[in-house]
Symmetry: C2
């Protein structure tokens, strides 16, 4: 990846990430330009941004980028929420309708791959948090005061196997597992809404006391483009997990963004949840069949 | 399976199924006793039942069954909704707490397996719709005026592969797939609520027009005990699928209960959905890897 000539261009969506990324880039002495999407990027960032563009104003966005001649482009912030399709929409004018509708019939993976392909066709390599701000990624090991117990570890293993087996389907990056029971699999609705669902189900259950608990397992799919689609958690995720009655959260170390790590761990400790980073590379290739009763 | 001496005992939960089963049993000249669960079984059925018992009154339920000396027992009607755990609860007095809490940590499969084991330990073989009323099962082939097109067939194939790959995890029996995109996987909340979720997501999407449609695929898990846990659809399922904007429904022929088949097909035709029964045995063992992009 050539990241040596020209500035880094940040296409800024919602949340703190764009600013954190800009900060990291500048700290390493590189030039940085921020293109903030109106309606998505934080107001504070928009004021400091080099350009503020409507998500649908593709012409201006492309013109900015081409004028800046960036050595690399990164997509940062809430571009998944309100949906990556909104991003694709922004670029749709440059593709024929058939190609677009073909992309739309596929999952998030393919959508984001489409955006990356478009940018790279314009001569702009796409980079991500792993390249620009690796310190924002989850470290390996237990981050919280509480550590997962044997039952939690078994739930984490089940969740990791499940998500790996789901990788070909481009569905969710996350699941909630209690013991050996899968309580929910994330769909396009996202992690927070999946947790809300688990919470609602727990409330409706007459088995609240015996069946309580569970672990949120969130890891990237195999083959997921981590430059544009990095699993993320933050204090809000922890709050939702606590409301759903979960015991803790397991993420892939080095492959998960933790938005505001200090506060995330603080909320974990305050709510009594564990947070653990699992080094996926260290796991032996185990068989899903092992789990069948 | 010995079904020749003694009556067939029907443990009756909610819905029309218990009455339909009793009717089928009597039509074949066999004796039939109905034990209706108060609060679950329909009022009309309760009046005709041989016994009406509280779900939690295990002692009386067992006493009835043992007095009837049934050749076989069947669990019919809404015993999944309000949760199979309620059934287990009814029998929990006969198991130690540790065993119970172990069962509770597992999925529906194991719960129902526990109930079956308990009944069989008492010398009562458990039978199901496949044994007693096979005419209530989905036939193979297209049942509706509309037939699935190429895109629908591709969605059905993806859904079948997905659910097969999920079999070891004891999670849902159903998924919604549009094109190659998985929109939802059923958790413990059940099919209707999953469809409500797809509906809500579709409403929130700016891509409603291009991304509309999809297929509800509902099939048993591999190794699922079809005597007590048969996937079911009915007119209400079709209504929910229509509200979610789906194109149709695919079920496993011979392995899916259609509650009120005539009305189910009528609602399909009225709402413009297809309904197709897939003969799972006829499908070649294809690889999930085929699907990876």
């Amino acid at each position: 990846m050539t990241v040596d000539r020209g500035p880094i261009a940040i296409l800024a969506g919602a949340g703190q990430l764009p600013e954190l990324m800009a900060d990291r880039v500048r700290r390493t002495g590189r030039d940085c330009r921020v293109l903030a999407f109106r309606g998505f990027a934080d107001a504070a960032l928009r004021k400091k941004a080099d350009a503020v563009v409507d998500l649908l104003d593709v012409k201006r966005a492309l013109a900015c980028l081409q004028a800046w001649r960036p050595s690399a482009v990164t997509l940062a912030g809430g571009l998944r929420r309100p949906r990556p399709s909104a991003v694709l929409n922004a670029f749709s004018a440059f593709r024929n309708r058939e190609e677009l509708s073909d992309l739309m019939g596929r999952g998030d993976d393919q959508l984001l791959r489409g955006v990356v392909r478009l940018l790279e066709e314009k001569g702009m390599p796409v980079v991500g948090v792993l390249d620009l701000a690796p310190d924002l990624l989850a470290p390996a090991g237990v981050q919280s005061a509480r550590a997962p117990d044997a039952r939690d570890r078994s739930a984490i293993e089940t969740g990791l196997r499940l998500l790996r087996d789901l990788s070909p389907y481009d569905v969710g990056q996350a699941a909630v597992v209690a013991g050996e029971r899968v309580l929910a699999i994330e769909g396009p609705e996202g992690t927070d809404r999946m947790l809300a669902r688990v919470r609602a189900a727990g409330r409706a259950s007459m088995w609240r006391r015996t069946a309580a608990g569970g672990v949120l397992v969130k890891v990237p799919k195999e083959g997921q483009d981590l430059r544009v689609d990095l699993p993320a958690i933050g204090p809000r995720t922890v709050a939702w997990a606590a409301k759903a009655g979960l015991d803790g959260i397991a993420v892939a170390s080095g492959r998960t963004l933790i938005v505001d790590r200090d506060e995330t761990v603080r909320v974990c400790d305050r709510r009594g949840l564990f947070l653990v980073g699992i080094d996926l590379a260290s796991l032996e290739p185990s068989s899903a069949q092992d789990h069948a009763a």
